[in-house]
Symmetry: C2
Amino acid sequence: MEAIEELALAPCASSQYLRPYRLRYRQNGTKKFWDFMRTHDSVSILIFNSSRQCFVVVKQFRPAVYMCEMERHHPQDFQSKDQDSWCPLLDPLPATEGVTYELCAGLVDKPGLSLEEIACNEVLEECGYDVPITNLKRITSYRSGVGVTGSKQTLFYAEVTDQMKTGEGGGQPEEGELIEVVEVPLQDSMKFAFDEHFPKTTGVIFSFMWFQSNVALGLLEK
Amino acid sequence: MEAIEELALAPCASSQYLRPYRLRYRQNGTKKFWDFMRTHDSVSILIFNSSRQCFVVVKQFRPAVYMCEMERHHPQDFQSKDQDSWCPLLDPLPATEGVTYELCAGLVDKPGLSLEEIACNEVLEECGYDVPITNLKRITSYRSGVGVTGSKQTLFYAEVTDQMKTGEGGGQPEEGELIEVVEVPLQDSMKFAFDEHFPKTTGVIFSFMWFQSNVALGLLEK
């Protein structure tokens, strides 16, 4: 995953992935506008393997995170670029700077599939567990990125066993996905959640805490 | 806040707020590219008023969230637009569809100020409390929006009292901010956190849970 080479950056005038819009409106009499991006809603899934007493999360190289760190170190890479030219990044940081720990997750981009169906597909594709839809428990939903994207993410909980593991996971290489499945032992999970040396999404921290308050107590009582 | 009128939408070919880039790279031998946006890092602050035993959060109209709901109801508003034309939104949803509950927060866009200084400024501007920097406790940091923006958010905790309230808050109208300060009583806070009728960010839910595990116990013992 971490063999990242031949990096080059260009401004992106048009993109099938990023759809920028401007909204003009009047709020309480004042004219305003706001630039934003349309993106898909998403689902994410907290997976707990009860056979192994661990959380199952994913780890991947995220270009947007990596470039955030690159700008911190080499702000000039983002300055004075021509509209269409590629600028090689000559002094790249280690690829690990762009690797994050995340919940298994996916975009809601298949009309006709329920959120639960999309979630189950992602658990299988990314982590290799074949989870029946009835095993999913909806935790809650929230807005991610209220400034730029505004999209809604719905969080599920799935308890799995070793017997439900039918594949390796890893995502879909033909879609460019390269995903490492990582097991976080329950007993280390809160330390992991608050250790900033492991870059991660809010979803990981929040859902681990949710588990402590809502599920772990039941496990102790079993 | 909720008097939103004269809505019109246009594609946004260039923007001083959204900076789209494309990164080209080779990962484990495979050529890839990824479109992303550069945005600023941010800080957010969980504010607990110990005089009133409540959390202090903010509520605002978020165009990106509103338009996410508009696309759900009227997907045609986003289709077949000319590059430069404004398209009036003729059948708008109630403005409340775009109002979210959030932690007091701000962008890290002032070089020379520490994260803590920026956080204190935001608490004063948005919520009206004058908090000494030494009262801030860093909770943790995480990545928001790993797909599109990759920026880092650092979360602080600030305990305030009624005596520290020196202003009304509400943000900076000259920067287009229109922010309502909302108090969530501690005793209702977990119900609020998981009630999806109140649209909110992950930060609100996560930080309320953090408080329960890390601070509330100490309050009970006092």
